[in-house]
Symmetry: D3
Subunit: 73 residues, 6 copies
């Protein structure tokens, strides 16, 4: 009877992709630990860009900084 | 000074129902454990249907599957 | 199918008290929102004193400060 | 590689204020515990008034009750 | 840069099983949503039996009740 | 009345360091958003190494892999 919470940035995950996440995580817990899918609960939180920080920056600034670091080709 | 987080599917809980949940949980913690209501914090997360999984399925698919299992009357 | 997480300081809640919390919260969600107890999940986190802060202080310091503020009787 | 979740009532925190929170928390963990900012993740949840309880009341009722207690000047 | 939290009852999951959960969830998010494994964080909470409730009961009582319901063979 | 949860790996943070985290986060929320310290709650979760994953690996394996990548000096 596990409980899983998945937090991702809100950027257009489709209902089908969420369905795959729910099925995938539930199956993983059954396969690895023998957990009963019937009582496995999964929730997905979609977090707005400005509410997600990584590397001390809001995520869009972080991505821009990472992209700027890449060498030109 | 407990902290309680309640996650429910978003399906129209009213402000009054939320008020009852907040009062009820706070009272329960006071009655059972003597916790001070003044510093008891409760948050409620309403989660969209497609972001809630149970039994390996998004919740609406799960409910449809459960309903289909019921014998006809 | 709600999910509830209760965080309290670790200070000796008994198994019976936890049983009351679990039954109480599950019953509250059934009564107020009609939620099915069969798929209501409750977890309790007991948090060490030094890992709980309120008013900018670890909780034992906070309690000592509050006690010191009370007028003598 | 800490993970920090900040929950606040939804009442108009600006993108710049959130940027400050993300930078501030990440810097704090680096300064106090030597944590690497590159893998420090911060998420901010903005919670609607009616979904936040304190003192057994939804937060707006709580604030009104607190204001009513203040002596007139 | 997703963040995933997995809560399970504490009943002897091995380090290898946890390794599988971490790899499995991280791979799932990469496969389904293209998320970068380098910044995917997974935490596992192992929760004592008496701190986990389902169906209004602590989990061991719940399991005993479920077992008692099974017809004799 | 914010609520902040800080998750770090369990590797010997002292009571004084936790005190600094609690004071620091509470002060940050007051400075940036004007939040009242009296009702700001902070909890710290210390997570065992094998329960923390990053880059698809338990954190100690991840650190070993990162160290192995560094060029010799």
């Amino acid at each position: 009877m596990p409980y899983v919470n998945i937090k991702i940035t809100r950027e257009g995950a489709s209902a089908d992709q969420k369905r795959e996440l729910i099925a995938g995580v539930t199956g993983l817990l059954q396969r690895v630990l023998g957990k009963n899918p019937a009582t496995t609960v999964v929730t997905i939180d979609e977090v707005d860009f400005e509410n997600w920080g990584i590397g001390g920056l809001p995520v869009l600034d972080y991505r821009a900084a990472q992209a700027a670091k890449e060498p030109p080709r």
